[in-house]
Symmetry: C2
Subunit: 125 residues, 2 copies
DNA sequence: ATAAACCTTGGAGTCGACTTCAAGGCAAGT
DNA sequence: ACTTGCCTTGAAGTCGACTCCAAGGTTTAT
């Protein structure tokens, strides 16, 4: 799979895909005879993972750290688990913050609902 | 309330508080005779709001837009409600993304749990 | 065989959100 | 009066995460 297709499939710019790879947030993608990136299923799995993590606000640095451990093999299983656990904590916290804000805005919009109606009422009387 | 206290209370740097005000993400704070910022309850409410929103990933630009409408008075009630509704949408989406990532990592850590145990098992036998 | 549409790399540029700096004013304690 | 600590402003600097650019190679269609 070439970079443009991957870009379309994940809705991530080709530049970003190259950037992630350059930085070491995903493993190096193998190239075809022309020197073009040719993504295999494993590469796509890494992109899925990276995309999820980035969407949840996890930094590139963390991804690099995780991949670095991963490349070092089985002896880093515990370290990787710890790293993920740490992220899980952070994400859970973020989740609650956002939930909190969601509730606040929800309430605020309902408040507005009442006010705007009141305002319309005034206008129509 | 002086800037340092506010900074401590909200755990937001004084620089950031000044930055938000300068940008128009919160209303101008009145000054005492010395020219120092003196935050009143309303100011604190705005900071609470801004902090919540920022934590949920809402941009400074949005806050400026909201405050701009707010300053224009009651005629912008509907516009403000719309703006908040829009944000609510975005935040709900973000919430789901993060929830999704949370589940994924949770699963992954459990997976690791098994593997690490397996690994320990191998070692201890 | 030539153009159009891909791809490559290295490096520079951008953007949002701070953060730091420089130069200086006020204020409370000794 | 002097030091220490907090405050002010405007401007410049930083940082993370892209995003764009230049120069050039490949592939596909005409």
């Amino acid at each position: 799979m070439k970079i443009k297709e991957v870009s379309a499939k994940f809705n991530i710019s080709a530049d970003t895909l190259r950037y992630w790879e350059r930085e070491g947030a995903i493993p190096p993608v193998s190239r075809d005879k022309a020197g073009y990136r040719d993504y295999d299923d494993e590469d796509l799995d890494w992109i899925t993972f990276a995309k999820c993590m980035r969407e949840a606000g996890v930094s590139i640095e963390y991804l690099i750290e995780y991949l670095t451990l991963f490349k070092q093999g089985d002896t880093t299983l515990q370290a990787r688990k710890d790293l993920l656990g740490e992220q899980l904590e952070t994400i859970a916290q973020r989740l609650h913050e956002i939930q909190h804000t969601y509730d606040l805005i929800k309430e605020k919009t309902e408040h507005y609902e009442a006010h705007v109606e009141g305002y319309h009422g005034k206008l129509s009387q």
